[in-house]
Symmetry: D2
Subunit: 442 residues, 4 copies
């Protein structure tokens, strides 16, 4: 099984078996230092503990195997850490993991992993937005058929398509920015969540630990209030869905029979093991794979959030691999689409040709709206529908059939007719929309 | 099938078949007025259209039946509206639905329904938070066994349990507040999303429509960028999960063998058709039913968000009943738990009795932390574990076995021993946490 | 909210609020008769009860409203039934619902609803299979481009595409046939599942009840073993997914730029409220909407199956609307696709034209396999890949570039070259596959 | 991330990165041999290819890294295999992967992995059923409170509880047996699914390949008909849900305040990092974690099944890690519960004590049914409900209050009263149910 196939290396690293242990040891070291600073344990003990908190010193695989029996990874890690500290300093050994419970270490360690991963995602998302902004501006007048229900509908521009995606991604950035201060919080509650083990120094130690790790201090421990993790999952789920939407659109434009836009070429990318001619849209496939998988995983996170009393039974462990997978899948989709958006190859001529494919049917609404002021929208609608049907049946251009049709004939002169069938004349607020999206970024 | 069984009447009403038509007609009327104000259509036409936009005038069921054939509800509604306007005013008839497409009406109508529903949810959530704040404060020293993995762990207070839930619900309120301005937006894009049908007046009409409906103006139409709807679903999903967590805890406390807290009694509520003695936790069941159903529905919303080009194929309709169901289920859970929290019946004596149930085992960590400064945490851990096992095997109180055990004997005098086994002495930062949560609300 | 928009009328009826009450009354009547036959209650009482079990006699809406308070529909129904029986026969009144619990009535009533719904689904599925079999046979040599990753790959026939779908639907029929005897079972367990209320006559009454309703007798009551319901959900989920796959393929073939196959035309079907020329693939959209929604609902059924002890807390109610929705959505997709498959409109000329679109690139594998016996598959693969790239770059036909390319030149004479680029020569086991599928049906 | 934490070693191995490559090489070797046997390629080439199909010869990690670029694992593997074969035999090199496409190798390889995994699951499931059968028989008269809505309801036996679970698991075995012949099928279709690359020998090669691998021959390739994989996922989903149900029940029985049954003790199992007294129900937690995660993953498999044309875009890769995770999670739950069921520790005295906890309330239905023949079920229901309320309010035993209550007084003599409150007299068809389940296994 292992990580999702297309996980970007930085996210592979952030959630590797080693990184998991590293972050947990980072928390144990910081806890010891925090407790020394607040006078809860001796400074010398904290130093000895911190010195032992290096992942290289531990057998990562053996710890994971032991977790199968103990039920979580912190128990064998604390045992191993205690042993190691004891070898160097018999007194310090007694201060390892002081006042904490397994979940404190696992949750806070996970928060550190998420911080690292979200920083990567922020960077890639900024890169994607930059690329989309450039492309949306560049293609603000690149006309192609708008499509509804996978049928040609009315002309649009590639610029507006990309700008609409960009606006969604900017909303995702706002959501991620709002998520961060809620998510990046220390979890420290001890056995049952009131830090009874630290007497009256619970808050002080929590604040010191938060300072050590540069994390926030929650109002109260959140061991079985999992909405922070759920929000992280859902926020990434929204981002992945928007990435999937962009990927699907581009893959549809790249179809052999459409041929309007393509992923950037790269050596060996998108080849087939048996079809020599293939150049598959690998980036879109990666994003769509993620968009297919993440919804079910988000549902798991929400379902897992109903955790009993002061520690859930099975539902907390249900989060352990689920949330990292969501992050990795989101990352894979994001990197893939940032790359695609940056190097998108566009064929404006083919777009024009596709507009002409139906001999004017694409301009049916334009014709209707040109006739409506005189005939009324409803009459115009019926008239143009008839004209379109007739044109299709007779294999003629809609313009030519329209030119002969009563009562359109009297309403539209030659110039008006010509205007209808030029897509540049039927883009409405296209430029305003693109500008509004681009401006809102600044 | 129909709505979820326990849907609160206001949410039943907000999403009824009639309300759906009403909101769509409200949008058509507002569009006509907006277009009159911006000079796109004659004022007289707008007046005639607005007059026809009353749901009572239409056969709601027939419209729904017709939608099965046309593929959406707007098509038969626009046809019926056009017919009705035409009966009163032949000219106005031609201006019905001017420049709009079905999705504009359906989406904006849904936004109006959501606004109404979210206002109800906000109110109930405030009521729940108020109740929890009162209870958390009142029960700040009501001691009961903390439980992890469904096993007694270490003492906590009911106050902190409820305060932790309250803190989660306050985060939900913050999320809902952030959602609202992103969600409550006009959708107006016309056939393919650029409002080509309105020429250069698209933005002006959109702004006027937004003013009419008191909604926001998006940077660009969002017909196939569905993150707003997804965020609504996910935000309610987080809220429902937190409600489920509270419900599960209270239901566990209400078990016959635990008996620490109960839902408020109400005539006929929670009876059984065959067991005369039963008083079932109906409120918790409603919340847990919602928490079981909503995750899969949120996943559907995320999956449905990958909508093709300018109108999705099947995935847009997949939202139509899914999002209202999420709202209704969330509402049912919320109303149920607000009622439970307000009238929660607590049995502090039974809590105390349950604390005593294990003859001191609950105070194992307290004993360990009392010994640790002298013996080290690791030695103390092992010692207390042995003492606990021995006490259990011999059917004795942990205190008595501990009093005899070397090397604890030398470390703990009688007063220290007594202190360990009083839960009031082992609540750590309990009060501080409750205060922090209550303060953060102001 | 209400039922899914496109629910076929028979499934709307099977799960209507009235039908739900009807089926529950049917169970109460059958139970009374069964208990009379086994000597548990007097025959006269059974007759009086059966006479009162007519849905018209009850206020359906009031019963549903009362269920909100009691927690399930059986409690107010049993109360109303008891009252009504008492009005006619004071003695009989005491024998209403004898020995049963709410869940017995609700579950067995649901089984009756499912039986009716599955019979409808079986019929429609047979109709779909029949249509596909006819089309697969008729189009066994209708050649079109095979497509992988949405890119043209190598030629296939429409016949094989449809035959592959047909084979999947035949597997669905086998699964439904295996499901039926497991699913169509009486549930009768009384308060806690051992029918203690019926003393030593539990099995006899269960067998008599099963005979009355023509259902099976389970080994043991299944009140909290929900795998039967889960299997029903999952089996329909598999069917819906296969329907979605067929729908997606046909919708892709119907794209304006592909134009190879279309849904049957029907008056007003697939029109647009603003685009006069549109004929949208409504059938595919209905099926894809179902395929988008059902997976999350199946997940809900699986999650809900973890029901506590002898009656779940909230998870049982979570099934009540979820399973009917799955059935209705499956039904809507099935009816839509049966209609599409029966009247599918195919354009073989456009298929041929699309094959020619890439000037021979579609035959790259054919060329490779023609060269491979002489050159080896790997050398041939690289050679043809180069030829394809060159042809594309130079805007030439692959055949012409291949004819000049060393070492292909020596290997392929003119006749061999011509053979490569005729799709009829590169269909492999196409006919055998179609025959195998068709034969397996008999 | 990596595999689910508690994956049993045989399932860890079956789906390891190495095993994945091994199975794919096994398919390539078998394909070469099958093609030699059918005269498609030279025998010497097949031998050379088979010799190179040893996983040790390849850099597993490098292959996975290369897959990130190529989009699937078969492409770099075929390249590496071709290179290696070529080093030994220049002619044979040209026959590697003859006529096949990546998906053929990946899908058939996965089928081999699934066969191995399902064999393991079958074995563990048999072990679980055996354990449950033994326990159900042994505890057929071990009485404990039946519980509905987490409230004590009416007495049941542990035997019937376990028998009901056993019956569900036997249904799962029947489903798995029905799944196997549908699932364990060769996939061989070549580029677009008609094996055009093999001319008229497609069926012969497929049959030979199936014989080599001991798999079935499908009617037609199933590259984009994914119902087999979906059925595998769903069948395991049903099994996991039933495991979750058993786990939840046992964990609830193991609660400190209930204390009726416990997981078998094992050194270090279920310890806490801070609470010395804890013995957590680790087995149940593992099963519940799986039951929380699998539903969302099954939904993913169903959603992923809507695969376009002859190869899906992104949805096929969405299966790659999802299905193995489902298998591993199911396996982890199964092994955990088989272990728990085998060594279950039961406390019949505590069960009896819990029955007495409510001073007779548990026997309310028994009292009602004893009175009903004389008073009618409805009158008896109301009477006993009053008696129960009174008893609870006055802190008395229901028996004593009942003995005084009119009109019960006249109906029940002392012996009848005593009979009501002995659980052994109120087990109904308990023995028959257990026997029926046990007999159905033979």
């Amino acid at each position: 099984v292992s990580e999702p196939l297309f996980t970007p290396p930085p996210l592979r690293k952030a959630f590797s078996a080693t990184a998991r242990i590293e972050r947990m040891l980072e928390v144990e070291a910081a806890l010891a230092r925090a407790e020394a600073r607040t006078g809860v344990i001796p400074s010398a003990a904290a130093d000895a503990i911190a010195r032992a908190c290096r992942a290289e010193a531990y057998d990562i695989e053996a710890l994971h195997a032991a977790a199968d029996n103990s039920g979580n990874l912190a128990i064998p890690l604390v045992a191993a850490l205690t042993k190691r500290v004891g070898e160097a300093d018999a007194t310090a050994k007694g201060y390892v993991h002081w006042g904490a419970t397994s979940q404190d270490i696992i949750d806070t360690g996970l928060v550190l992993q998420l911080r690292e991963a979200l920083a990567f995602i922020d960077g890639e998302l900024a890169r994607l937005c930059e690329a989309l902004a450039t492309q949306a501006d560049a293609h603000r007048h690149t006309v192609l058929p708008g499509r509804t229900w996978l049928q040609q509908a009315s002309p649009v521009t590639l610029g507006q398509k990309l700008a609409a995606s960009l606006a969604a991604f900017e909303r995702d950035r706002a959501r991620l920015a709002a998520l961060r201060p809620r998510l990046l919080m220390v979890q420290l509650g001890g056995a049952a969540g009131n830090l009874a083990s630290l007497g009256d120094r619970g808050i002080a130690v929590t604040e010191a630990l938060a300072a050590e790790l540069d994390l926030g201090v929650p109002e109260t421990p959140w061991h079985t209030q999992r909405d922070r993790m759920g929000e992280c999952a859902a926020t990434l789920g929204l981002l992945t869905a928007s990435l999937g939407k962009l990927a699907r659109d581009l893959a549809l434009l790249a179809q052999t029979e459409v041929g309007e836009a393509f992923e950037p070429a790269a050596a060996g990318r998108g080849a087939s093991s048996t079809m020599p001619q293939k150049r598959n849209p690998v980036g879109a496939a990666i994003a769509l794979a993620a968009a297919t998988r993440v919804p079910g995983l988000v549902a798991t996170m929400l379902a897992a959030a109903v955790q009993e009393h002061e520690r859930g039974l099975g539902n907390w462990p249900a989060e352990w691999e689920t949330l990292p997978q969501i992050v990795q899948l989101t990352g894979s989709a994001l990197v893939a689409m940032a790359q695609v958006a940056s190097g998108l190859s566009v064929d404006p001529q083919r777009m024009r040709a596709n507009i002409e494919l139906t001999h004017g049917q694409l301009f049916a609404e334009a014709a209707q709206m040109a006739l409506a002021p005189k005939l009324g929208r409803d009459v115009a609608h019926k008239l143009v529908a008839d004209v379109c049907r007739r044109a299709a049946a007779e294999g003629r251009h809609v313009r030519d059939v329209l030119a002969e049709a009563e009562p359109a004939k009297g309403v539209l002169d030659a110039a008006a007719l010509a205007r209808i069938f030029d897509p540049a004349n039927y883009l409405g607020s296209n430029d305003a929309y693109i500008d509004r999206v681009l401006k809102s970024r600044r």
